[in-house]
C-alpha cells in the first residue's frame, strides 16, 4: 500500500465504477453529499411551490389535495432524506475518521451498504410520489393514514428502509469512536464535532428501530388490520402517536446535535481561542441525547393524551433547555477576547446562534402546556421548528460545508459571493419564518390550503422571503461548483484550524494520514499547536 499513501483520494482510483465499489469513507461522504443536495433541492422546490400557492386564499397553482401532497412531500423528503443524513452521513462520514486520526470508519463495507440502503429507500419515496403521492403529512397519523387511498405503504416502506441506513451509520460511528482513535486521542481530546456525532449515533441506534417497528406496524395495520392503531377495529390512534414520537422527538436531536458540533468547531477556529467549557459542551451533547427520550409527549398535548402524562411531559420538556443553553453560553464565552475572523463559515455560525436561540425560546413557549393549547397546529409551530431545523441544522450544515469545502476538494470558493449568499439566506429565512410567528399567534392554522383575507399581506411577505432565500441558495450552488474549476490549491489549513483533519493534505490521502498521528494536546489548544 506504500504508493497510495500520498496520493489524494480523488486520484487514487479512476472511473465511475471505482466510486460505486469504494469503501473509502471520504468518497462515501461525498456521494452522500450529492444525494443530500438533490433531496434538499427537491424538498425546497416543493416548499417554494407551496408558498406560491399561499400567495392567495384562492387557487393559484394547486388543488387542495395537491397542496396536501406537496406539504407531505416537503416534510417527508426534508426529514428523512435530507436533514437526518445531512450532517452525520455526509460531513460526519468524511470528517469523523479524520478528526480522530483513523484510517477509516470501523466497518467500511457496512458504510457503503448504508449508502446503498439510503438510495434504495429514496427510490421507494420517489416511487410513492409518482404513484398517488401521500397526503397524510410526514407524520402518517392514523386513522387517516390507514384509510387514505394514497401511497402510504410505499412512502412508509421508504422511510423504514432509510431508517436502517441511519441505524447502520450510527452503529458504525459508535464503534469508530470507541475503537479507532489515534494513539493519545483520549475521550477528552476528541474534537467536539466527534462528541456530537457520538451522541447522535446513540440516538440513531436507540430511537430509529422504534420508528421502524412503528412504520412496519402501520403497514401491517393497513394491509391486514392488527387492530392496535386503527380505531375502526378497536385500535388506539393516540398509541400510534406515542410510537411515532418516541422516535421522532429524539430525531429532532439527531438533526440538531451534529450542527451543534459544527458550531463548536467554527467558534474555536474563527476566534483562534480554546473552547470555553469543553467538558460542559461534551457532556451536554450526551445529556441532550438522553433527555430527548423523555419529552415526546409534548407533540400530543391536544391528542387526547391523559392530563397526567401531558403535565409530566411538559415539565420534562423544559429540562432540554438547560443543556442547549449551556452550549450557547459556552460558544458566546468562547468569542470573548478572541480574535474574531468574520469569514463565511463563521457568519453561518453566528446566524445559527441567533436563529437557534429564537427557535429554542419559542420551543419553551410551545412546551408550556397551557400556551400550547392555543398555539398547537398553528403557523407558530411551523415557524418554531423551521427556526430550529433550518435556522439550526441547515445553517450548521452550510457552515460546516463552507468550513470543510477546501479540505474536501482542495479548492477555495469565492469569499465575496459566499458572504452575499449568506446574507441573502439569513434575511430571506427571517422574512419567511418570522412572519409565520405573527401569523401563528394570530391564529393561522398550519396545513391549511386557504385562509382568511386578513392574513394575505403576511402570507405574501412570507412567500417573497422564499425567493430571497432561493436566490441565496442558487448563488451558493454556483460558486461552489465554480470553485472546483479553480487552479490554485489551498494549504493544509486555510482557516488556521488545528484539529487533526487540518494537519493532513487538502484533499487528504487515501488513508487520511501519511503517518498515524500521535496526539498529546487538547483539540483546540491554539497556544501549543501552530500550523
Amino acid at each position: 500500500m506504500g504508493h497510495l499513501e500520498n496520493i489524494n483520494f480523488f486520484k487514487a482510483a479512476k472511473g465511475f465504477k471505482s466510486w460505486l465499489i469504494t469503501v473509502d469513507h471520504k468518497r462515501i461522504g461525498i456521494m452522500y453529499l450529492l444525494f443530500i443536495v438533490a433531496a434538499f433541492t427537491l424538498g425546497g422546490l416543493a416548499a417554494g411551490i407551496m408558498r406560491i400557492e399561499l400567495l392567495s386564499p384562492d387557487k393559484v397553482l394547486l388543488t387542495a389535495k395537491q397542496y396536501n401532497q406537496f406539504f407531505t412531500l416537503h416534510g417527508a423528503i426534508m426529514v428523512f432524506l435530507f436533514i437526518i443524513p445531512s450532517i452525520p452521513a455526509a460531513l460526519g462520514n468524511f470528517f469523523l475518521p479524520l478528526q480522530i486520526g483513523a484510517k477509516d470508519v470501523a466497518f467500511p463495507k457496512l458504510n457503503l451498504a448504508s449508502l446503498y440502503i439510503y438510495v434504495f429507500g429514496a427510490l421507494f419515496c420517489v416511487y410513492s410520489m409518482w404513484h398517488g403521492a401521500v397526503d397524510t403529512g410526514w407524520t402518517f397519523y392514523t386513522p387517516y393514514s390507514t384509510t387514505t387511498d394514497t401511497s402510504v405503504i410505499s412512502m412508509t416502506l421508504g422511510a423504514f428502509i432509510l431508517g436502517f441506513s441511519s441505524i447502520l451509520t450510527g452503529m458504525n460511528f459508535i464503534v469508530t469512536v470507541h475503537k479507532m482513535r489515534a494513539p493519545g486521542m483520549t475521550w477528552f481530546r476528541m474534537p467536539l464535532f466527534v462528541w456530537s456525532l457520538y451522541a447522535t449515533s446513540i440516538l440513531q441506534v436507540l430511537a430509529t428501530p422504534v420508528l421502524a417497528i412503528t412504520l412496519l406496524l402501520l403497514i401491517v395495520e393497513k394491509t391486514m388490520g392488527i387492530g392496535i392503531f386503527d380505531p375502526a377495529i378497536g385500535g388506539d390512534p393516540v398509541l400510534f402517536q406515542h410510537f411515532f414520537w418516541f422516535y421522532s422527538h429524539p430525531a429532532v436531536y439527531i438533526m440538531i446535535l451534529p450542527a451543534m458540533g459544527i458550531m463548536s468547531e467554527l467558534f474555536t477556529t474563527f476566534t483562534k481561542k480554546n473552547i470555553f467549557g469543553y467538558k460542559a459542551i461534551a457532556y451536554s451533547s450526551i445529556a441532550i441525547a438522553l433527555v430527548s427520550f423523555l419529552v415526546w409527549g409534548h407533540h400530543m398535548f391536544l391528542s387526547g393524551q391523559s392530563d397526567l402524562a401531558s403535565t409530566i411531559f411538559s415539565a420534562l420538556t423544559f429540562i432540554v433547555a438547560i443543556p442547549s443553553a449551556i452550549k450557547v453560553f459556552n460558544w458566546i464565552s468562547t468569542m470573548y477576547k478572541g480574535s474574531i475572523d468574520l469569514k463565511t463559515p463563521f457568519l453561518y455560525g453566528l446566524s445559527f446562534l441567533f436563529l437557534f436561540s429564537v427557535g429554542g425560546f419559542t420551543g419553551i413557549v410551545l412546551g408550556t402546556l397551557s400556551l400550547d393549547v392555543h398555539m398547537h397546529d398553528t403557523y407558530y409551530v411551523v415557524a418554531h421548528f423551521h427556526y430550529v431545523m433550518m435556522g439550526g441544522t441547515v445553517m450548521g450544515f452550510l457552515g460546516g460545508l463552507h468550513y470543510w469545502w477546501p479540505k474536501m476538494f482542495g479548492k477555495m470558493y469565492n469569499e465575496f459571493w459566499a458572504k452575499i449568499a449568506c446574507a441573502l439566506i439569513f434575511v430571506g429565512f427571517n422574512m419567511v419564518f418570522f412572519t409565520q410567528f405573527i401569523l401563528g399567534s394570530k391564529g393561522m392554522p398550519r396545513r391549511y390550503y386557504s385562509y382568511l383575507d386578513q392574513f394575505q399581506p403576511l402570507h405574501q411577505f412570507s412567500t417573497s422571503g422564499t425567493w430571497v432565500m432561493g436566490l441565496g441558495f442558487i448563488i451558493v450552488f454556483i460558486y461552489l461548483i465554480n470553485s472546483l474549476f479553480r487552479k490554485e490549491e489551498v494549504s493544509n489549513s486555510p482557516w488556521g484550524g488545528i484539529t487533526l483533519e487540518w494537519q493532513t493534505t487538502s484533499p487528504p490521502p487515501v488513508y487520511n494520514f501519511i503517518e498515524t498521528p500521535i496526539v498529546d494536546n487538547d483539540p483546540y489548544d491554539f497556544e501549543k499547536v501552530k500550523i
Binding site: 459508535i174 441506534v205 422504534v210 417497528i213 391486514m224 392496535i228
Partner: protein, 215 residues
Amino acid sequence: MNKEIKIKKHEVAHHFDNSEQEFNSAKLGMWAFLGQEILFFSGLFVAYIIFRMMHPEMFIYASKHLDWKMGALNTVILILSSFTMVMAVRSAQVNKLKQCVNYLIATFSFAGMFMVVKGFEYASKISHGYLPAKFFNAESAHESLHIFFGIYFTMTGLHGLHVLVGMGLIIWLIIKAKKGHFYEDYYTPLEMVGLYWHLVDLIWIFLFPLLYLIG
C-alpha cells in the same frame, strides 16, 4: 468429508492495527445492533402490554386458543439450538473444525424444526379463521379477539422472520467453516451470528409465557 479441514489464515483488514482491535470492534458493533433489535421488538411488547391492559379478559380467553404444548416444544428446541450454537463457537476456539461444522448443522436443524412446528401452529390458526382483523373469520365471545391474533401474528411472524434470517446466516457459516475459515485466532462471524441467534432465543423466552401461558 472424512479428511480433516485445513485452516485458512485470516488477514486483518487494512484500517485496523491488530486482530484484537478488529474483534472488539465487531463485537461492540454487534451489541449495538442487538440493542437496536431489542428496541425494535420493544414496540411490539409495548403494544402487547397496552392492549392486555385494556382487554385483560379477552387475552386470557384468546390464549386458550393457542396450544401451549407446541409453544413449550418450540422453547425447548430454541434453547437446544442456542446450546449447539455456543458449542460451535467453542469448537472453533479450540481448533476442532469438524466438530464446529457438526454443531452448526445441528443448530440449523433445530431452527428448521422450530419453523416446522410454527408452520403447524399457523396452519391450525388459519384453518379456524383466527386471523388479524381483515381476515378474521371465527366465532368469539369477545368482539376484540382479532386484536390478540393481530398481535400474535405480528410478534411471532417477525420473530419467525428473524429465525429465517438466522438460518440463512448459519448456512453461510457452515460453508465458511467447511472451508476452514474459523479457528482459534479467528472466529468473529461465528461469535457474531451466535450473539444474534441467542437474541432470537431470548425474545422467544418472553414470547412463550406472554402468548401461550396466560391465565
